[in-house]
């Protein structure tokens, strides 16, 4: 979408000039239209409703074609979304239509989280667009826009009021997507019941603060019809791809024993109104609202989450460059910090281990000091014993020597005596 041509305020201070002839720039809208036709259009519808309420049938009827439909059971464990894309051609206008259906909506016992997959799907498409928009090398004009442009919410034709699931779901979605509530299988409600039902629904929506899509009133060409249609909301629709012969024509209808409900008969149901509003008149506005309102809200929240601001603390405007550079600085500082922390941790561990080992070494040392001392003690006691032994041995030696000397002396004395006796 060209974001250059946006709604502008009346030009202040710009001098108007009158033209002296036909210049030709009144062809500008045509140039724009030609370009759009060349490019082709794209539209994405999300249908939310219980299983069997008629979502696929209504899509088939609206777009006059048989989309591949899968019948779902009532036993899906959780709500899932199924998206299918089709290329359609009408006159020379190409439309890439994506229909997203909820599968299993309203079937679970506990429906508290039923809306979540829907919200997630819508957000994913926004995110995808945002990512593309933020890329350095981007190709927005080639980008296939998958954002949901319209959400048809199918209300069960109970005839009484909205279910709490309906209110909860629509409340969660009203700031994310254009909600168009429709009363499904309207051929089961009588005209008077329908009137009361519609009033009840609208008042419940208002009292719960649910913002549904209002057909735009700012363009004079369509303001009148849009105002009228706004008053018929929600549209009570009937879908059918089968044809029944009525009069001399074949019309889309549902055949009952008591009569034929004609889909395109405005007194039977609001199908034609829905088609006119959704497709013929306001399709472009739905796309525009999705882009300028819902997407912008998403984008704003996302960027704020990421820390982007338009003004710095001194309320001076901050350019994109500054923001990115600031972020980058922060980022680099963070990385550096992590690196430093890790190194620090290692240094710490090394220190601890070193002191542990030193402690062990010291223990070992002291143990051996002890043993050495023990040895020294033993050695000295051993030396003492040796000394004593030496002393004993030497004193004994002395004694023996002295005794021997004595003996020798006494022997010689005795010998002398003997010798003397012999004489």
């Amino acid at each position: 979408m060209a974001s250059s041509d946006v709604e502008r305020q009346p030009y202040k201070g710009v001098r108007p000039l009158s033209l002296a002839g036909h210049v030709g720039f009144d062809s500008l809208p045509d140039q724009l239209v030609n370009k759009s036709i060349c490019q082709g259009f794209c539209f994405n519808i999300l249908c939310i409703g219980e299983t069997g309420i008629g979502k696929s049938t209504l899509m088939d009827t609206l777009f006059n074609t048989n989309f591949e439909n899968f019948e779902s059971s009532h036993f899906e464990p959780e709500v899932k979304l199924r998206a299918q894309t089709y290329d359609l051609l009408e006159s020379n206008v190409r439309l890439r239509l994506t229909v997203v259906n909820t599968v299993g909506f309203g079937d679970q016992m506990n429906k508290q989280e039923s809306y979540q997959p829907v919200v997630d799907y819508i957000d994913r498409q926004f995110e995808s667009f945002l990512q593309e928009e933020l890329k350095i090398k981007r190709s927005l004009h080639n980008y296939h826009d998958s954002r949901v442009h319209a959400c048809l919410y199918f209300i069960s034709p109970s005839g009484h009021s909205l279910k709490s699931l309906d209110l909860v779901t629509m409340k969660k979605l009203d700031s994310k997507v254009n909600i168009i509530p429709v009363i499904a299988k309207a051929d089961t409600i009588s005209k008077s019941e329908l009137h009361k039902f519609k009033i009840k629904i609208m008042s419940e929506l208002v009292s719960n603060g649910v913002q549904i899509y209002q057909f735009p009133l700012d363009d004079e060409t369509v303001a009148k019809v849009n105002t009228t249609m706004n008053g018929h909301l929600p549209f009570a629709v009937v879908g059918s791809t089968e044809e029944v012969s009525v009069g001399n024509k074949m019309v889309k209808a549902r055949q009952y024993p008591w009569g034929v409900v004609q889909v395109e008969n405005e007194s039977h149901c609001d199908f034609v109104k829905l088609r006119e509003m959704l497709i013929c008149i306001n399709m472009e506005d739905l796309r525009e609202q999705t882009h300028t309102r819902h997407y912008e809200l998403y984008r704003r929240c996302k960027l704020e989450e990421l820390g982007f601001k338009d003004t710095d603390p001194e309320c001076k405007p901050v350019s994109l460059q500054q923001t990115y550079e600031a972020k980058r600085q922060e980022f680099l500082v963070e990385l550096q910090k992590r690196e430093d922390e890790m190194r620090q941790m290692f240094v710490q561990r090394v220190k601890e281990k070193e002191s542990e080992l030193k402690e062990a070494e010291r223990d070992l040392q002291s143990r051996f000091e002890q043993l050495k001392r023990l040895h020294a003690d033993e050695k000295s006691s051993l030396d003492e014993k040796k000394r004593l032994l030496d002393e004993d041995q030497s004193s004994f030696g002395k004694r023996r020597a002295a005794a021997q000397l004595l003996q020798a002396q006494s022997l010689t004395a005795n010998g002398k005596k003997d010798k003397d006796r012999k004489k």
Binding site: Y11, N64, H141, I279, K327, R328, A360
Partner: protein
Amino acid sequence: MFTFGPQQPKNLEGYVGFANLPNQVYRKSVKRGFEFTLMVVGESGLGKSTLINSLFLTDLYSPEYPGPSHRVKKTVQVEQSKVLVKEGGVQLLLTIVDTPGFGDAVDNSNCWQPVIDYIDSKFEDYLNAESRVNRRLMPDSRVLCCLYFIAPSGHGLKPLDIEFMKRLHEKVNIIPLIAKADTMTPEECQLFKKQIMKEIQDHKIRVYEFPETDDEEEMKMVKRIKDRLPLAVVGSNTIIEVNGKRVRGRQYPWGVAEVENGEHCDFTILRNMLIRTHMQDLKDVTNNVHYENYRSRKLAAVTYNGGDGSKSKGQLTKAETSDDMSPLAQMEEERRDHVSKMKKMEQEMEQVFEMKVKEKLQKLRDSEAELQRRHEQMKKNLDAQHRELEERRRQHEEEKGSWEGQQRILEQQKLDASK
């Protein structure tokens, strides 16, 4: 345009109604109104203001709002005039940017710089507006087209022309025009055009190119225009009567050069092309090509070399910039790379640590074993000495004992003998 799938789109039976989409688009665009910024560059006196007035059939430049050549400037200025015009219910905010003083000085080196700065500043404004968190009305003042006036010398482009176009062809759609075409005969004009186109090609200058279309009729028209490039134009502020018709033209003694006469000059072609058929395409090329180039260059500069001076400190650098991401996504990837780099570093450091601890423990065990061994040794030694001593003692005691025994016997004998 995004290409539709390989199979033909489903052609619908029965009425659906989205064929009305183009009308819806038409309606909305008329309501919004249009904007167009046109830049006019050329030396004084080449008829720029007159041409603008003729193009838009209005007195954009008048005695109260004089054209660039009448606003004598010492240096090249870039100035804009905004006017609001309406035709057939379509409102157009027209901004004409002109450059008084361009090419008029004696030394014209760098006279294109103010022009480049102006264009870049408009891109910058748009980029900032587009990147704000709170985006609102985005007025688009980007220059969508630059009409470059070539003096009708008949001898090819001047160095200034070539320099200017070379520097600006990647920033804006350049449409070169031969000014005051009524000073050349058709043959001279033809030669001049050929010469200019050849020089443009030789210097690899990319002037605005008409897009290809599938439509045969359109392609034929485009081809006709291409053959007549660059367009030779004549402008006039005066209306003259020729053969009962009132036309814009220039009155000479020898005749009237009619502005809107296709045989006299290419003015009509220019007006049709610029305003009636290709205005949207000029916008698209500016938006999708020139602006995107500016933006990606600007943003790429922010990522890897963010700021000055932070390049050095051994930070992450990537061999190629991967532009297929936003700067934030790139930072995310950088962060992931950094995390894995740190993990590796951590593992390595862990390994080294373990190894060193093992070594130390081993050493400790070894020295414990050594000390143990020595202790054993010493103990053995001491024990041996001990045993030896015991033996000596025993022998000594034995010897002593037996000698003492002997002595006692001797003593006894002696005693017995002396009796």
